[in-house]
Symmetry: C2
Subunit: 369 residues, 2 copies
Amino acid sequence: MSTFELLHTDSRSAARRGCLKTAHGEVETPAFMPVGTAGAVKGITPQQLRETGAGIVLANTYHLLLRPGVDVVEGLGGLHKFMAWDGPILTDSGGYQVFSLSQLTKIDDDGVEFASHIDGAKVYLDAETATGIQNRLGADIIMCLDECAAFGAGEAQLKTAAERTVRWAKRCKEAHANPDQSLFAIVQGGTEKALRAYCAGELVKLDFDGYAIGGLSVGEGHDNMLKTVTHTTQLLPEDKPRYLMGVGMPGDIIAAVRAGIDMFDCVLPTRNGRNAFAFTENGPLRLRNNAHIGASEPIEAGCDCYCCTNFSRGAVRHFFNSGEMLGAILLSVHNLRFYQRLMAKIRQALETNEFSDWADKQLKMIIDY
Amino acid sequence: MSTFELLHTDSRSAARRGCLKTAHGEVETPAFMPVGTAGAVKGITPQQLRETGAGIVLANTYHLLLRPGVDVVEGLGGLHKFMAWDGPILTDSGGYQVFSLSQLTKIDDDGVEFASHIDGAKVYLDAETATGIQNRLGADIIMCLDECAAFGAGEAQLKTAAERTVRWAKRCKEAHANPDQSLFAIVQGGTEKALRAYCAGELVKLDFDGYAIGGLSVGEGHDNMLKTVTHTTQLLPEDKPRYLMGVGMPGDIIAAVRAGIDMFDCVLPTRNGRNAFAFTENGPLRLRNNAHIGASEPIEAGCDCYCCTNFSRGAVRHFFNSGEMLGAILLSVHNLRFYQRLMAKIRQALETNEFSDWADKQLKMIIDY
């Protein structure tokens, strides 16, 4: 099982510097987890991912369950071997994708039946199956099945989802059968403070290895997200890691670290990379822009990634413009490295007690992303 | 300028072991050149390409001329810097693509006008411009502009093309203005022995740094290709490198080495890789096949490439099946490494005087590709 060591808490904010120790290595927190949806971080190899400085990667149970199926992954030696990633892995429960990607055919307190977004096949998921599947996939950290209400859901719907999430978490904990894996619970409740307090309180009573905040970054906006995160982290135990799911833009991450979050995941570095959008300290670059045709400078001056140390903006633009896969590969590498450098700067600022000032300055600079 | 050192000629065939020395490094021959059409070998980074053992890479003048244009490549420091490849590069003249990809609008002894396959823009290419463009791109080896008659062309058309190729080669040599680059001429003449003899004879009189055989692997089949190569290599000087353009399958390469060829290029390793087709010593593997769903073995047992040392067939199949770029990346890496291992085996067999027996055995085994 993973253990979390809280190394230092910022004197002027709720930000924390920690270390998550798993059977597949240690993760320095605050940490950003690149997303390997179907067992691959899109566009790059695990070797290139390692070179970006990533310490832990996320994979989606929903996608792996539908394709290639748990039997196949397990038969091929489990998720680490299947993905050729020997570092820590976290799998989500599939809940978020069931509610966002698939067509629901039945949902009640028992579980959820849905039609695969790939071929329409009916699939049933409940607390026990979601846990059992993750036990068999073999990630270092697994997540409880939760119900993620859509943005804009009314209070009653949010309440039902939060209550169901608590009941399912209890059942997940009981079903959890692989002591090598840590089990995290997910706090739901939309932007309703009382619901978040109820959900967090009930889950903390059940004593999980870590706590995630779900149901955010779904349309509520930066300020509402941050208010909810600030409110919710205060309800979570200090000695357990806190994971803000699906967040986000660099400014979101810095603000959420200040509110006490330790772990993040997001598809933005790779999705934007494939769409010729580069993150830089000086703001976004859109590489399809004609302005870059003859530009000899790297994507980001001072960046130590493979793209920036070898290619001009003009070359990267050309690869996108010519439909060469290399454009998407290079910007995925750069953006992932950008995110890891951001996390390293956050950790460094925490270690030298300069985090609050640094964060203020950064948030002013990058608010226009 | 590059120099060619002939190290050893096989006692029982025309096969040769040599070394091509360029300003950007030495190339052991027989050598296979991966194709970086638009300045990128499709699907992989130059670093991954280097790891496959590639010593020299080919880029297409036609593609770079249309996009991003010579001014851009030159302005960004030349082709080596643009591609982030500090090893040897060969550029073709654009002739082959003009005749195969674009719509010709005018051709005569002066040159050729064509409509770009990208946007229909009219482009004019003649011996002087094709040479000047390659001088500016800055590859280590550049090619004379040739006319490549389509497969099935009649004798008169082949003769016109061969004669024009000779006249253009003479003009290319006169126009060639970068002494750091070697200039190779291209022998045309279809499968007509007399035309090949005429063309080779005239070009040899002009004394080029190397000689290519063009106009093959366009539909004539293995036997006709090999007959023409065997006939033509005998007409070329021993002390200059011989390059068979656009060839080919592993069996074609082994047979052509036996006929005296030193250099090859072909898109098959990467094109087939992107289409889930893997080359192996035991024949082709089609990774979309259901048979591979749960297969734990690597693509090719004993292969030292990144794909084979890290991933199961089942995982590679899954990446293709899920539309993950990683499938194409991994099989491109494997196929390119397969080709480089093939060339290394050829060179080794030549060094130990076992080439003829080895080649006989290989050709029997792999004829079914």
